[in-house]
């Protein structure tokens, strides 16, 4: 009996051959459509569970209720202080009015209901991206709305993660394919693969130390000089300059292990009989690589890349913190520092969405490149 111990990853399963041969032939389109719907459904359930979990965790200490009560109290108090109608009231009348209004408001917001019922109200709000207003933080325009705070910060985060992941993916594929196995370079890369156990922010510390503090050629952090340079081109170049170190840190933290993993996949596929056949036919190395090795390996690689991206999303919080990158991650850190619960909860939920979106996109690409994918095997 032989146990396949080579590849204990998700990929092993998904690429199990032979299943689809029995399947009825369906057009690519309907196959994709079915798969997409299934994946979307799965991800939707995931997001709902993540959000509900977030609500439960955030609320177990009664935080959400506290915040709502606090804001209601503030609102009624403000009314009492500023509205002329109430100025003439006696203190006892004011107190009675306050109590009465509190009761009404609690009823209106559903605070008199048991938590179980309310948690679904929160869930609905969260799913419809209605996060209310922050306790202390404000957006660049001064708005207290959590939505505008997040929208302000989403761009820089997407820029950073997008750039670094694109580079990571293509550099890794290029390097994993183009090296001759067993050479000195190959051994160096294998030797370096353990370095990937350190997160990106950790590399960030060293990069800042070297390039900003000692050599002084790149900025310590931030996204743009202050004051920002004039002209569109200057602006873009300046952002690019600030992007180098954080993106480099992210790439550095994962590149060696992805090369190592993908190299293993390539090696497994390049020992297949049809590759030998292609060699015998006298095809060029390039053709063999792209048509016979890269093509069947792509689904596996995409799965492993998806897992990598998920872990990168997680690590982004501190990477942004170290580089003072004005994205969601740094907002997260600020919110933790200020105990700004609505922002923390909202960011957790947004993270769940972004994660799900990333996974969906990669799954979609997966379905495009792997003709064997059918609904239910994900």
């Amino acid at each position: 009996m032989s146990v396949d111990l080579t590849n204990p990853s998700l990929a092993a399963e998904a690429s199990a051959p032979g299943e689809s041969r029995l399947q009825k032939r369906t057009s690519t389109f309907s196959r994709l459509a079915k798969y997409t719907v299934y994946k979307l459904g799965m991800l939707f359930i995931t997001v709902i569970i993540a959000v509900y979990l977030t609500i439960l965790i955030a609320n177990m200490g009664g935080k959400v209720d506290e915040i709502m009560r606090g804001s209601i109290r503030e609102f009624i108090g403000n009314q009492l202080r500023t509205n002329r109608e109430y100025l003439s009231l006696l203190q006892s009348e004011k107190n009675a009015f306050f109590e009465n209004e509190m009761l009404k408001a609690e009823k209106r917001f559903g605070l008199d209901q048991p938590f179980f019922v309310r948690s679904f109200t929160y869930l609905r709000n969260a799913v419809t991206l209605d996060f209310g207003s922050a306790r202390l933080m404000a957006s660049d325009t001064g708005s207290r709305q959590v939505n505008s705070i997040i929208l302000d910060r989403l761009g820089p985060t997407l820029l950073l993660i997008g750039t670094s992941n694109l580079f990571l993916f293509f550099i890794s594929i290029f390097l994993a394919l183009s090296r001759s196995y067993g050479s000195v370079w190959d051994k160096i890369v294998i030797g370096l693969s353990p370095t990937s156990s350190a997160p990106a922010w950790f590399y960030g510390l060293f990069l800042i130390l070297i390039f900003a503090a000692i050599i002084r050629i790149l900025p310590f952090g931030g996204m743009i000089d202050s004051p920002p340079p004039k002209g569109e081109l200057g602006y873009i170049l300046n952002v690019g300059k600030h992007l180098i170190l954080p993106a480099f840190a992210i790439i550095l933290s994962s590149i060696f292990v992805s090369i190592y993993n993908w190299r293993t996949f390539f090696l497994i596929y390049s020992s297949e009989d049809y590759v030998e056949m292609a060699k015998a036919k006298g095809l060029s190395d390039r053709e063999i690589q792209s048509r016979y090795i890269l093509r069947p390996t792509l689904p596996t690689i995409i799965t492993s890349f998806a897992l990598l991206v998920i872990s990168l999303w997680q690590g982004l919080i501190l990477t942004e913190g170290v580089f003072q990158w004005p994205g969601l991650g740094r907002t997260y850190i600020t919110a933790i520092g200020l105990y700004d619960t609505p922002v923390i909860v909202a960011l957790t939920i947004i993270y769940a969405y972004l994660l799900a979106l990333t996974v969906f996109l990669l799954d979609f690409v997966y379905a495009l490149v792997d003709p064997r994918v059918k609904v239910g095997t994900g």
Binding site: D4, A50, P194, F220
Partner: protein, 448 residues
């Protein structure tokens, strides 16, 4: 089991694994030493102690060994107290009280001046407080009157803050001027034997000077330096080791073993059990793990053990479970399992005695490889200021240095590099061993 033993024997043939093993053993040795040398409670008391514990240490200075390759040597801290052997104490009775003359001498050979010059006094009196004069004699024989002042029960004299002294010294900051060589234009340190004379007079019969301590805070300290709160980083660096190992090993062991058990149970029972475990895994993979951990840290408990528990629970249903499942599916069909079923062994017996041991070789590399990730996770949480509130850990040192001390901007590189290097050593040790184990127990990788 024989298989495992052979595997570990093979390990010694890989030089990288040997280095890794040595690194891990070193870390364990440090941990054991730390636990016995600085007991847990004492470490916490020290680490959270304030000025009373750490007042004698200089503020944010690098470790002593930087002097080994520095051309201009940095001074070490000099503490001169009345209990010292080389302190000359002369007592004369005067009309009401006594006249106490303390002479300290010390040799100064460093190329930079100390951080500051502090004289701590303590005295006992009823109505009239004692009066002290402090004189400073340089190696070339100049005598500088430092201060003349009355002292209370406790008084700290700081030369740097003494504006009068600064004027007397011609406008140069006292910390520099006291050690300056007047022969040269620029300020450079005069090496040689310095003398400090403290002349104290008390005015009552029972009035005594109990302490007259001269403190010259150096610019290097100990093996690991100090932080902005003058704390000796040795404690944090040493105690970080057992904590990192405990966290990393427990988390890695917990997650791998439970993942494996769940995978085995799912595969063996099949049907809805398997389906449920698979669906949970699919959801769990997409959960924003770190964010949830941060929320728990923020809202409930920052205790490292709570975080550990949550980490294990959230990571059980991760990608690894799918990998294990794929392998268990094959193992389940093998003849020896069928034989076990035929002679009527129970489900638990099959799962724990036949299924799981079969793939233990696969577990070991992933277990070892998982350790660094969790060690870094702890550091990550600590750097988000969500670390354990009482324990000193590497991550907290990095966070203190980065955010509290602005270590990069101020050039306190040692403060960041020390915990970082230890994190690297830990990561490297486990990774080297793990990768070698992976090659040994996954034979198909060995030929590649």
């Amino acid at each position: 089991m024989q298989n495992l033993k052979n595997g570990f024997k093979l390990l010694l043939k890989y030089p990288s694994a040997l280095i890794g093993t040595l690194l891990i053993l070193l870390l364990f040795a440090i941990s054991i030493y730390t636990i016995f040398a600085i007991p847990y409670n004492r470490a916490i008391d020290l680490w959270r102690g304030g000025d009373s514990v750490w007042g004698h240490n200089p503020k944010v200075v690098p470790p002593v060994w930087v002097n080994w390759w520095r051309a201009d040597k940095l001074p070490e801290t000099i503490i001169l107290s009345m209990e010292d052997e080389n302190a000359q104490i002369e007592r004369k009775t005067s009309t009401a009280g006594e006249n106490l003359i303390i002479t300290y001498t010390f040799d100064f050979q460093a190329d930079e001046v100390p951080q500051d010059m502090i004289v701590n006094f303590a005295s006992k009196y009823i109505n009239r407080s004692p009066f002290v004069s402090v004189f400073w004699t340089t190696p070339d024989g100049r005598e500088i009157r430092v201060t003349e002042q009355g002292i209370n029960f406790t008084t700290s004299y700081r030369a740097i803050q003494d504006e009068k002294l600064k004027r007397r010294l011609g406008g140069i900051s006292p910390d520099l001027a006291l050690f300056d060589n007047p022969e040269t234009e620029e300020i450079d340190v005069l090496k040689g034997t310095y003398k400090i004379v403290i002349d104290a007079i008390t005015f009552e019969e029972d009035s005594v000077i109990t302490k007259a301590e001269v403190l010259l805070h150096g610019k290097v300290y100990g093996w690991f330096g100090t932080d902005t709160q003058r704390r000796d980083l040795t404690i944090a660096i040493l105690w970080g080791t057992p904590i990192a190992l405990a966290f990393g090993l427990t988390a890695s062991f917990g997650t791998s073993v439970f993942s494996m058990i769940f995978a085995a149970v799912g595969v063996w029972y099949g049907g809805w059990v398997d389906e449920l475990i698979q669906r949970i895994t699919e959801v769990s993979i997409n959960l924003p793990f770190l964010s949830l951990l941060i929320m728990i840290g923020t809202f409930y408990s920052r205790s490292i053990w709570t975080i550990l528990l949550v980490t294990v629970v959230l990571t059980i249903f991760s990608g690894a479970i799918k990998g294990y499942r794929a392998i268990f599916l094959q193992v389940k069909e093998s003849p020896y399992i069928e034989a076990a079923r035929a002679y009527g062994s129970s489900n638990t017996r099959i799962i724990f005695n036949y299924l799981i041991p079969r793939i233990t070789p696969l577990l070991i590399p992933s277990l070892v490889l998982g350790v660094p990730a969790y060690v870094f996770l702890e550091a990550t949480l600590a750097s988000l200021s969500l670390g354990d509130p009482v324990l000193p850990t590497w991550g907290k040192v990095i966070q203190d240095a980065w955010q509290g001390g602005g270590a990069v901007y101020n050039g306190y590189y040692y403060w960041i590099l020390e915990p970082a290097v230890l994190l690297i050593i830990t990561g490297l040790g486990f990774a080297l061993v793990g990768f070698a184990l992976d090659r040994i127990f996954n034979p198909r990788l060995r030929d590649i």
